[in-house]
Symmetry: C2
Subunit: 384 residues, 2 copies
């Protein structure tokens, strides 16, 4: 094993691109200096293109969960009836935050590994006209499911006045998110997923409708008060000391997106998903999710004849390839491969080659070259 | 002016040491990996030495204000009577957070530039036996005042059962903070001050007494719930994705502290304070604070015959030396020099030399070499 080489293929954090590392090495500057203002001024329009919104986006120092909590506290009041669509660990987290803030929480619980059935949401909303907000996870990182956000948005806005609040944490930047066109009211994401930065920034984009609700909201909050962030970002500033190094990195990430072209970024993620899935199909190892709801950023595998954690241990020991395990009820049952952010189809070929060796070593009867050939076929078709 | 050279002498963020920059370049790792656990395991005991506490310290991704808010929400309930000692912008911030959470806020307002008179606190507490918590700023960054924390702690604990909650943001790591010995119940700090890291981490250390109050507290909070951080840090983990790059940097900062010796770190800050103050005394330019309450980390100057912002502009334009202006009621009246974190007595000689030239250029009648000689005398005495 080459010392100092780690192949990080978990669903976030992802490896950091060298040019982003270099950008973050910028000497420290004052957070109230003109240079910080200029940095924010450069970031703003490029960031809006990623969310496909014309509205202002709050940039907070914090983990993604801080962004999810900001979504809850700024858009709801204690006692409000809300619907949380729970498709895994992060839907569960939304529900827990809503419960902590004493909302009247209704849940649609979906079997982990499946996307929500939009008909269930439609029927629920028809019977619950006073729902103030619907919370959903775009890409459920714990299962690799991509929920049908655009369709959900149509259904929610047709059948209710609820705000549609989306956890976009392992989606935005890797999966198209047409916030304004699709009518998403609030989209949250974090820095360490498809935005390929270290963890430490969270983003909250809100629609005109959402800002109206937020403006009227007066429940106690201070650090997560989105109005403060909006007022400040309008003049290229932040209410509290921002994570300056991460902002330098973010600006570089956004430049990389412009250079590659956002459409190409999304296609690259689609391609990596297909390559990964085809390999497991060739090996005849079950995937947790159907093709129709598989996320372009993370793939979950649910083996029926070997221990996923034994495989993870093997490839970690032999090649320093890091895969993620299952969480909570899926612990010990699945493993997850992250293919987002600073990750290319070539990296996926490497990942699959190593997993293939790991499978053989774990005693699984696969033929060397079989999974990788399936992935190569996809790639050959795409790049011809 | 040398391109790419900025002399950042504001009271935080401070320049980042090269070895800390290098540490933060560590390739990204998974936040649930063994390597992250090992990193936290290394950080914990060294961090406790800085706070001089045996209790666990919560490490949160966020600005210092997130830490201040965590102090308020975890230790109080709506309607609680609290006392906030307001000596400047950051005392005011504590008051605003307490008001946002509907506490019954009593204030002791101190003229900006002065430390609180401990007798006022004693008298207040004797007349208000139901005060649940007293909030104070250790170093008030907006004025350069160091409040008498140890004496305040004695008075508070002798005269009440209140928790003593300290904003240590531009003090901890630059000024001794004997948390356990002095009986401080909660100490908050941020990464970008004397800890010489980029902004993005905040720390909350709590005493046994404080943890007991926190455990019983059940007001709605999620991301800032200190109990979650305590439970996790006990097993070398964090409840939410930590700012991994900053943790690598923090570990290196703490190693630098061990190498220099914490006592020497504090002496260096004292020395830089003295050198700075003696220069201004030699120039006959008034300092905002008395010697007896001057912070070792930041010095405020209140000129009576020139415009502080004109001086700041001159040294910025000519030498890229960045000084801070006054905030709120002191805007346009003072300027502030940060001498903390990655800053040495040699750097202070440079800063003073440049300010001296700036003063001459601004039309102030000072003799070249006069201020710097005063600072040199202090340094010569110290290093002889």
């Amino acid at each position: 094993m080459l010392p100092d080489q780690q192949l990080l293929r978990i669903p976030g954090p992802t490896p950091i691109p060298p040019s982003v590392q270099r950008a973050m090495l910028h000497p420290m500057i004052g957070h109230r200096d003109q240079e910080t203002k200029e940095l924010l001024r450069k970031i703003k329009p490029k960031l809006k293109k990623v969310f496909e919104t014309k509205e202002e986006i709050a940039i907070l120092a914090g983990s993604g969960t801080a962004g999810l909590e900001a979504a809850v506290t700024n858009c709801t009041q204690p006692g409000d009836e809300v619907l949380v669509i729970v498709t895994g660990v992060f839907g569960e987290r939304f529900a827990k935050i809503c419960e902590a803030y004493q909302l009247n929480v209704h849940r649609i619980d979906v079997t982990w590994g499946k996307a929500v059935d939009t008909l269930d949401v439609e029927n629920f909303l028809k019977g619950h006209p006073s729902i103030k907000a619907v919370f959903v996870t775009y890409c459920e990182t714990s299962t690799g499911v991509l929920n049908p956000i655009q369709e959900l948005s149509n259904i929610i806005h047709t059948n209710s006045d609820a705000l549609f609040i989306v956890d976009g944490v392992s989606a935005v930047g890797g999966v198209q998110t047409k916030m304004d066109e699709w009518g998403l009211d609030l989209v949250v994401t974090g820095s360490q997923k498809a935005l390929m930065l270290p963890p430490g920034l969270t983003f909250v984009a809100a629609s005109k409708r959402a800002w109206e609700v937020i403006e009227k909201n007066n429940i106690p909050t201070f650090y997560l008060d989105l109005q403060k962030y909006r007022e400040n970002i309008l003049s290229d500033s932040t209410p509290f000391t921002p994570s300056i190094s991460l902002l330098f990195g973010l600006n570089q990430v956004l430049d990389m997106f412009e250079k590659e072209g956002l459409e190409n970024v999304y296609e690259r993620h689609q391609l990596m998903k297909l390559m990964t899935r085809e390999a497991f199909k060739a090996w005849n190892i079950p995937l947790l999710t159907r093709d129709s709801c598989a996320s372009p950023t993370v793939t979950s595998v649910i083996p029926n004849d070997f221990n996923p954690d034994a495989l993870r241990k093997t490839v970690k020991n032999d090649f320093n390839l890091v895969l993620a395990g299952g969480q909570q009820e899926l612990k010990g049952k699945i493993f997850r491969i992250g293919h987002m952010g600073y990750c290319s189809p070539s990296d996926i070929l490497q990942t699959i080659s190593l997993i293939e060796i790991g499978l053989v070593k774990t005693g699984k009867n696969v033929m060397l070259g079989s999974g990788i050939a399936a992935a190569q076929k996809i790639l050959t078709k795409e790049v011809k």
